[in-house]
Amino acid sequence: MLNNLIQYEDDNNMNNKKTMTSIIALSALIVTFAMPSAFASETPIESYYWQTNPETCYLETELDDIDFNGSRSTSNQADIISELEVTRSTYNTEMGTIDILGEDSGSCSDTRRIEVGAFDFGNWWTYGQESTASSGTTMLRSFIDFNTNWLVGFDKDSEACNRLDVDMEWIYNHELGHGIGLKHHSHVFGTADTLMGSSCSSQWDSFGADDHGAVDQHYP
């Protein structure tokens, strides 16, 4: 029952292994020369999306950009926002020097922004998706959108993950991980205790040991 929803990410599907190999090699070069030594000495950060100089800019989350035009949309916009606030505060506790801001303070450039909303992805598609735009190893922008065709199945604190009942906080916990640059992973830090596993499960309910390790590397 825990895996009633499947989120897929094929770590080998970066479509061009040669390109990836050279990106990884050059990423290592950048790490060596351009990043603080604390980053360079850590284990495999190239296993993740990571952002150059993550402390130079804030991430921003736009809460006012939610568009409820889908055919089955409901009026739970307030729940979406309140659950996002819970997740945002969790991440801010975990992320040390970086804060994900709740509103646009004007302190961030147009990049490094996470926008949250809802979109009509169709009846036979995902219940939500996260889209990351990146250039080389630099994340430019992230969008987290619920499928307005599925909103009827989203509950605030249902502690569940199936077609009729999806816990919003679980989804935010996972998708915001993508939003700050994390890929799906498990066992990287010696444990499968992570909310970045590829299938929705009760693991998505809170930060796991794996996530602490990963986030500490990006946002010490």
Binding site: I6, Q7, Y8, T19, T111, W124, G128, Q129, S134
Partner: protein, 195 residues
Amino acid sequence: MQKNTKTLSISAIIAIVAIASVSLTTVDFSSQQTELETQETIVQTISGSMPAYTLEELASGTKYAIIGTVKQITPIAVESERMQQTIFSDVVVKVKEDLNGLYDQKEISVRIQGGTIDNLQTISEPSAEFEVGEKVLFFVADKEPDSMWGDNYYVAGGYLGKYKLDDNGNAHRDKINDSIGEQDLVSKIKKFRGN
């Protein structure tokens, strides 16, 4: 060969970024970004959580269940509220049979998420993937013009809704690595359809 060219160009760009990062005492990310945007390949990676659609749901709930051969794949840039542009691809399939018995054209065009045009690449993890010449069985969702698919058919359930048919009579789904006999699959679909 195209891959090598791409590898070289991406490597060169990354090298430039590396050198710039070293030489700048204060990194002004926004101006650095403006320079990059004119030349850099932008990659959009879409990850999504797909409900675990069962074969029964797909077989009984979708408009068509097409068996055919992929004839042509054309990437198309679609204006997007989210990303300015996102690349989709229109996949034209020569139809051998619709297991639902409703589709009466020789070809069908279905839209999938993902593709590359110039320096914009969209990689969609939930999407089914197709190759020209591939024999396929897939479930077709009806047109939902208000959705991101516009006025196009799309593959229902993404990677869960598309099978590659091999010459040994087996049907495979790439991203979940499962396999079933083609005849077995067809008879299950027909049974779920009530045929």
